[in-house]
Structure formats: C-alpha cells, structure tokens
C-alpha cells in the first residue's frame, strides 16, 4: 500500500516537473539557467542511486559526465551520428567506463571515494593529453558548432531528467531498493539475506553512470563548445554531492530540492562572486555533516511526515 502510494506520488511529482520545465521558458528567458538546473537535478538523482541507496560516495562522479560528453562528441565528429543517438552513445560510453571501474566497489567508505576521485582525474588527464590530440583534441576542446540546437537539446535534457526520476521512484519503492539499502547498512548481513551484493551494487552503479553519461552527452550538444576542464571539473562532482546531501539522500524529492535551492543560490551570487558562494557552501557542508547528516528532508521524516 505504502509503495503504491509512493509510486503514484512520485510519478505525479515527475509530471509536475515536466510541465513546469515545458512552461518556464515562456515566463523566464534565462533558458541556460533552466537547462543547467535540469542537468544538476538529473545528475543529483543519478548520484543518489549509488550514494543514497548503496552508500558509495562517488567523488569522481564527474568522470562519467565527462566520459558521456566526450563519447557523444566523438560519435558526432567521427561517426557522424545524429545528436539524439550521440546522446545515447554518451550514456553507453559512461556505462562502459562504469564497468571498468566496477572493481572499485570492493573498497568501502572513504577508500572508495578517493579511488573514484583518482579514477576520474586519470580519465581527465588521459582525455586532455596532447598526445591524443588526433582523437580527443587534447586540451584544446571540442567544437560541435554545426549541430548546435539549444531548443531540441533542452527537451532532451528534460526527458533525461524524467528518466532519472522514474528510475529513482522505482528503486525507492521496490524490493530492489530495499536490497540496495541493505548493502548500504551492512554488506555481510545483506549477503546473508541472500543478496548477491556484487551484482546488485554493480547494477546500481551502471544505472548511475548511465544517467551521468546521458547528461554529459546532452550537455555537449547543448553547449556545442567545451573543454576537458569544463566537463571533468571536480566542481561538478562537488556540486552534485552537496545538492544531494542538502536535500536528503535516498529520496526522490531531496536531490530536486537541493539542486533547486543551491543552484539558484549559485546562480544568484556564485557566478559573480564565486568565492562567497564557495565559502557559504563549505560552511553548509560542515553544518550538515555535524548536525543534519541526512539532509533537510530528514527533519520532516522525524516529525512523521513521509516524503517520496
């Protein structure tokens, strides 16, 4: 009963988000802000799958985003794929990188986080290496100017956001989600409940990387010109982690609220005076780690209000 209700509420919220982002460009003309907001919401839901449910903090999450952007761009440049298919290639590219990184899941806690960070940095230095100029253009960046289409890519981004939300809804209100939460709680107990821990967590990892890769692919399409430093920027990992922590891990709504509040805040003061923004989100992280480790939604949970 609880699950059915959750799924219905969750799908309702997804619908609401879709409608909002379809209509918002009519009344608010900063579509690049709206695009980035959707982007961060999708990334936050993607990171939520692996961090919120399974407890692995992917500090190098941006690696998947960058891999997606580059896979999509290379598919367009070398294989002349249509952009829509290229976005999918972005998702698949990141997914494959995710498979390569699966051994990292054997690590736990901070070990995993650091190793994942190192993995994404390694990826960055490989892509940006001048020796690979013929393939990746090295540090000089990618230009996809002739397929630039901010209108269509906006709606593709929206579909990816919807996809990420639906994925989270079905994880949150299913036995699979329960299995992931069990892995997060205690891997030994989870395997003694009969859960194939390596398999289930790899599936979550794959889903999470796929969503980041799709987002990277559509980002490449939307901006059309980018550099390795933009799509492998550690700042992206950091933002997404903080957004998810702020909103509340393991929920559908938490990552959305976190992205909405903090990304708007970033847009408000972060672009003009980034250091004040950095200072305030640094302080925010400290406060949350010390006092509200489960995010603001946990305050409602404590009062008995269940949020999907």
């Amino acid at each position: 009963m609880y699950r059915k209700k959750g799924i219905i509420y969750g799908l309702g919220i997804t619908l609401l988000v879709i409608v909002l982002f379809i209509f918002l460009p009519n009344i608010y003309n900063n579509t690049s802000f709206l695009f980035n907001l959707m982007l961060y919401m999708a990334l936050a839901e993607g990171l939520n799958i692996i961090y919120g449910f399974t407890g692995y903090l992917p500090f190098g999450y941006v690696g998947f985003f960058g891999a997606g952007a580059y896979s999509a761009a290379l598919a367009i440049l070398f294989l002349h794929f249509p952009p829509l298919i290229a976005v999918l290639v972005g998702g698949i590219g990141a997914f494959l990188i995710g498979i390569i990184f699966i051994p990292l899941l054997k690590l736990s806690g901070a070990y995993f986080a650091i190793a994942n960070l190192a993995a994404s940095q390694a990826l960055y230095y490989i892509v940006a290496n001048p020796n690979l100029e013929k393939i990746t253009q090295g540090p000089y960046g990618i230009s996809l100017a002739n397929i630039y289409n901010p209108q269509v890519s906006y709606y593709v981004m929206l579909s990816i956001l919807a996809f990420s939300m639906v994925t989270v809804i079905f994880i949150r209100f299913s036995d699979y989600g329960l299995a992931l939460l069990s892995i997060k709680e205690d891997r030994v107990s989870a395997s003694l409940a009969g859960i194939n821990v390596p398999r289930e967590r790899s599936i979550a990892w794959g889903l999470s990387s796929f969503i980041a890769g799709l987002s990277g692919g559509v980002y490449a399409w939307y901006v059309a010109v980018f550099y390795p430093t933009t799509v492998f920027s550690l700042e992206i990992s950091v933002f997404v982690i903080v957004f998810v922590l702020f909103g509340g891990i393991g929920t559908l709504v938490g990552p959305l609220i976190g992205s909405l509040v903090l990304y708007s805040f970033y847009n408000f003061i972060g672009i003009s005076t980034p250091q004040y923004f950095q200072l305030s989100y640094g302080l925010l992280i400290i406060i949350f780690a010390l006092f509200i480790p489960n995010g603001i939604l946990s305050i409602f949970e404590k009062r008995g209000i269940h949020v999907p």
């Binding site: 407890g55 903090l57 051994p103 990292l104 054997k106 690590l107 736990s108 806690g109 901070a110 070990y111 986080a113 650091i114 190793a115 960070l117 190192a118 993995a119 940095q121 390694a122 230095y125 490989i126 290496n129 001048p130 020796n131 550690l234 950091v238 982690i241 922590l245 980034p274 250091q275 004040y276 950095q278 200072l279 989100y281 640094g282 302080l283 925010l284 992280i285 400290i286 949350f288 780690a289 010390l290 480790p293």
Partner: protein, 295 residues
Amino acid sequence: MLSYALIGGIMYGLYFGLVGMGLNLIFGVMRMINLAHGDFIMLGAFLTYWLYYLFGFNPLIVIPISIVVFLVFGFLMYYVFVPKLLHSKDPEMLSFILFFGVSQVIEAIIILFFGNNQISVPSTIFAKLFNVSTFTLFGNTFPISWLVVSVACIVAFVLIYVYFFYTKLGYATRAIMANRHEALVSGIDVNKVSAIAFGVGIAAASLAGVMGFFMIGAAFPSMGTDLTTISFTIIVLGALGNPLGTVIGGLIYGVAIMLMQTYFSSWTNVLPYLLLIFVILIKPEGLLGKAVRNV
C-alpha cells in the same frame, strides 16, 4: 640521465614524504581522512609568501612560526569537530564530508584575501642566503634549494620519530593508534593526545607548504585537492596509518615521478592517479602496511 632521475627522485621523495606525513598521522590516530590536508599545505605556502613580502622573512624563519601557528590551529580544530564526529553513526564517512567542507572554506577565504592568483617566492632565496646556487652529486648538478629542503625534511622526520618513540606523549599516541578504546580505558587522556597529534599533522602539512615553492613551484588557492590526492597516493604506497611508512611511500613516489618525467614526460600527470588506483585495489592497507581496512 638515470642517475639524475634517481638522485633527484630521492630528494623529491623526501619532500613528498613530508607532503603525506600529516595526512597519515591523522589517519593513524583518528581513522579519519582529512580531506582538507592539501589546503593546509596551501595555507603554509601562503603564510610563507605573506611573511616574505611583508617582512622579508626567509622561509627558514617561517618554519618555526608555521609550526606553532598550525599546531595551535589544529589542536583547536580537533575539539571543534572531532569529538562530535566520533559519536556519530558513521564517523569515517561524515568526517570525510566535513573536512571537504573545511577545504572549501579555506580555499574561499584565501581567494577573498589574496585573489585567485598564483603566488611564489624567488627560487634564488637560498642561493643568496648560502652564497651558492647549485651543488653536485655523482656528476649531477641540482639547485641548492633541493638540498635545503631535503635536510629540512630529514630533520622533520627525525623530530617526528623522537616524538613517537622517545616521549611519553608519543607512547600515548601509539597506544591510541593501536586501540583507541583500550587507551581510553587505561587512563590516557585520549582527546588531548589526539588533539596534539591532529595539530602535529596539520603543522607537518603546513611545513610542506613552506617548502613547496622550491619543489613543486608556484602556489594557488585551488591546489589543495590535487595535493590531497597525491598525499593519499603516497600514504597508500607507504603504509596507511603508519606515519613513518609515509617516508617510504614518498620515496617510491618521488623516484617514480622523476623517472616518468625523464622518459615519458607527457604522461607524468596521470601517474599518481593510476598508481593510487592500482595499489588501493591490490593492497588497500598500503604496500608495507598491516591490515587496517574496514575500521
């Protein structure tokens, strides 16, 4: 070429031993990864820069100042954060996130005061002081500053060794590293001893910052993250939780970097990360370490 890379690598390695020292000390005592470690190195560099341009202080004079300032700072910081974290459900993960926040705050404050710029002190500063600019070892010529840094690092290691093995405080620190709970039961003031270790860890990091100009070049506010990752590589190469194992990790790292720079220079950047992933997957407790995983 090879002998240059090896000798240079050893001097480099001594420096990197110092870079990783503080992170490993804090990990050993608190079982926490200080993700702001690299930012304290950066702070040490900025303090050096500031004192040099304001008062013309030589970095050698900055060393004791830096040690005192950051020892006190680390000591106080311990009491603000760590006891509360240790009582939480998942101290390892929460501390990781918290220190990440600390790192952001430090970086932002430095940018607010100094701007988002690269800073450096003249590399000839030691040459002027000692009236020689280079020295020669087995037919290879190195800048004199490398020798100064190497000597300073060795002195620092000896002092840490003495603190660890020849003082009552070091004895208590080692007891906490072996078993925090038993140390508490046996009447050691665990918080105070840990706070001092925390301070020593932060001070060691700042010292690496003071010396950094002469080994890794200019400093800038966002240099911390890379340094933290490199430090982590070094302590994993050495022995996680054993501060003196860091020296070995640093030496391996220094020689590897020098060899890379000599023979495959364009891929040097990737090396620390691949090395880290490789070692952490094969032997997460560190190449020379005993099992401390899942603590």
